[in-house]
Symmetry: C2
Subunit: 207 residues, 2 copies
Amino acid sequence: MRYHKIPDETVRRLPVYLRGAIHLSQQGVESVSSASLADLLGVKPWQIRKDFSYFGDFGTPGVGYQLEGLIKQINKILRLDTGPKAVLVGVGNLGSALLAFPGFRMYGFEIAAAFDADKRKVGRTKNGVLIEDITRLRRIRRRRIDLGIIAVPEASAQEIAKALVDVGIKGLLNFSPCYIAVPKRVKVITIDIAMDLARLPYYMPSS
Amino acid sequence: MRYHKIPDETVRRLPVYLRGAIHLSQQGVESVSSASLADLLGVKPWQIRKDFSYFGDFGTPGVGYQLEGLIKQINKILRLDTGPKAVLVGVGNLGSALLAFPGFRMYGFEIAAAFDADKRKVGRTKNGVLIEDITRLRRIRRRRIDLGIIAVPEASAQEIAKALVDVGIKGLLNFSPCYIAVPKRVKVITIDIAMDLARLPYYMPSS
């Protein structure tokens, strides 16, 4: 099922809510008010209520949101209930950190394959994932992998993006601080770590 | 100078606009329309105009935004013109990737110090930054470093956050997928990489 007309900004916040809901659920909490959830996540309660209003209402007045149902619903909207698989290209420092990252499993993700151009890395296993030769990227065609993670140097990012799209990847998570051109049907999310750091000084008290 | 009443969501987008403006400026472009800038960045033109309206207007009808002035103004609002310095704690795979990351310089940042608990790493230099002993963290007090980057395992993140706040750090960029408790005056931005990946399947065409 596909939910239409959900604003991008709401889609961006859904994983935040999901993380908060999973966190509370793991602590044995069964339901939460929008005020408590907002406080935990550092957002406004009206924002949560507005975002949830796009796809139905899980709240019960005086009780709040029932966490189990909320988690299930967000997973469904984001299509995380299908157990999405990702291929990682570039097993350098960042790529290695991603392979070891505990957060993916929380959302039902799996990095199912890894590729690198460095022959010394090819054939090795890292966090249970075999590192394969980048020239053999077409191998992933039959493995039902829809997502690509680009963790290569900036100069190779565009070329790798094209190669991934050519073998059928439908969505890209790009860690290179550059723009990547792909066909319109492919969604690219670029994570520019410096961009997040750049927001911090704004909030700092004057010294 | 501090600009008040700018919504968090606008502050979040300012570095995105800044990056786009720098990108265009480096290509020799002098001014850009909100429509072209929006197209480059994948946002809506009205969003850009609304965001910019919070702190003045750089646009000239028929000409667009003058890039040099725009870059200067955003840098000022975000306080990036002060040349903020950050201390990195944790020089594992992720920390090493951050030290090598080319994006920070673009925004005028500097990772000015790095600390780790591993004695084998202490004393080494990575990307021009000396790795120091975490037990000596109080050394940074005199170095005019305001920002902290936490790239340690989840189990140590809270403890490191407290230590950083104790030595005067005013803003934290946290890469551990966990909640960190700090005094209200300290701003924490948590980067959960899995959260960004979690948005991708939503946008993928049904297969």
